[in-house]
Symmetry: C2
Subunit: 299 residues, 2 copies
């Protein structure tokens, strides 16, 4: 089976072709420009590909209610040209295949649930910590949407008692993203994350905020696995700091051995590594194919 996958980021797009086993057979990447240019490249890439379905994990906010006129749109982004852009509709005019459509982080969560670190589980939470912070939520075997979709990057956080940094979020100042996304790290310490040594005080501070949000997420959602991806999490020395801080925060309240004894296997890196986003889009495409197939079979 040939399935198309699109990881649509605000900075770059990755398009790939893969199969129903989660194997990406080929891929291409290009910077995100105006939608006409970028979606034109997407269309060119898939034109001769004969894919049987396409899955898309997109930067957002995006329209996710199937009945809504904005379904398939990128909605209110400040990214030039993309606000109110009919992403999905543009592709639908060209390729008459089933489509999977979700946020980039929900796609990554789904890919991890199908083929990655959360394989076989009914729930997981995917964080990306990079230029921004976002979360994807998979619960009871479903990707979670609602009023809009999870925007976990902006949750309120308690300040570290020694922290006077104001935070960079234009909406909330010192929310999680304002305190702990890549640009906050750089603004606070004057260097990019990868330039700071592993024993720098920056990392304990970074772990403090990320762990606090994870603590809240565990208490609200009780996910079976928490997966941390994104550029900042390439500093893998953050993982043990975050795990310790989460245990300290929970203080034994959630008496699950996964947390109290095996947290190394509970808060983890993406099993699909760098391909979490693209494989996630592939998984959305596979699901769309299967759903269309089932529907056809039921008629």
């Amino acid at each position: 089976m040939r399935l198309g996958a699109i990881e649509a980021g605000g900075t770059k797009f990755v398009c790939g072709i893969g199969n129903e086993h989660g194997v990406i057979e080929e891929s291409v990447s290009f910077p995100t420009e105006q939608p006409e240019v970028t979606l034109g490249k997407v269309i060119d890439y898939f034109r001769e590909s004969q894919v049987e379905a396409i899955g898309i994990g997109s930067f957002g906010p995006i329209g996710l209610h199937p009945g809504s006129p904005l379904y398939g749109f990128v909605t209110t982004t400040p990214k030039p040209g993309w606000a109110n852009c009919d992403f999905l509709g543009t592709l639908r005019q060209v390729f008459h295949v089933p489509y999977g459509w979700d946020t980039d982080v929900n796609a990554a969560a789904y890919g991890e649930a199908v083929w990655g670190s959360a394989k076989g589980l009914q729930s997981c939470l995917y964080y990306t910590v990079g230029t921004g912070i976002g979360i994807g939520v998979y619960a009871e075997g479903q990707l979670v949407h609602g009023l809009v979709h999870p925007e976990g990057g902006h949750v309120p956080v308690k300040r570290h008692p020694e922290d006077s940094f104001q935070g960079l979020c234009p909406y909330h100042g010192d929310c999680l993203e304002g305190m702990a996304a890549g640009p906050a790290l750089e603004a606070r310490w004057g260097k990019k994350g990868y330039e700071l040594p592993a024993d720098h005080a920056a990392w304990e501070r970074e772990a403090y905020y990320i762990a606090q949000s994870i603590t809240g997420a565990i208490l609200m959602l009780s996910p079976q696995k928490i997966i941390l991806g994104g550029g900042v999490m390439k500093q893998t020395h953050l993982f043990p700091l975050i795990r310790e801080a989460v245990k300290l925060n929970l203080n034994g309240y959630v008496s699950a051995a996964e947390i109290t004894e095996h947290i190394d296997n509970y808060i983890v890196a993406p099993g699909l590594g760098e391909q979490a986003g693209l494989c996630g889009a592939l998984a959305l495409g596979l699901r769309a194919y299967q759903q269309a197939h089932e529907k056809a079979g039921a008629i």
Copy 2:
């Protein structure tokens, strides 16, 4: 149809018999004593009732994984006699009917989704603010469980800048429950909530903490409705304070008219009022009946 419903609280049990339209036809209430005594009363109540299914919303923590040996148990509660109590198994020995089983707050969330304030929606969040604080999560048309179940009462919260109260939670000190549950209100102000006048400073403080947790929940879960029940929320003047604080926290970031324009209809009291818990248990019973019926039909 006659369906049984059990709202099993740590302080009192309510048992009722209702129908498939959410109407409770009769009910009885008694204090929660040792499990032999209390479950004995439950069994006596339903013995001649000829109910076709029973739904239970229970205080917890409880075992919720259908494959687990602890499914149907109250697990680690400090409530004397109830730790590792096989609640569901005890009833199953007597009544051979389908059972619905979930946490008290998940039951209430489900009842509100089926017959109450969230009727027709695919997601809602139910808070109870009383002796403790708990949340029930309904998302994508499913009640959410995972590693255990949502324990949202214990999420970390930022302190109010003028607040020096230490908090009452034995695990976390100043988590949401430690700062804002009924006993915290009383410890902080020296009076019970219902004794404090509507213009007392207590309420703005109370709203600050509840709203903060709701803000986090909106950002993590994006529920289509937020329902606030429990004893403390009987002080209905809290609702406008909480709504205003949530809007202030979000600061326009979630651009959904439900929040920015119609928040009075987004953060609401239980549509089922005092019966949210019992009707929720009834809804669980109805679902169990329907699932058993479907399964039987499919064979």
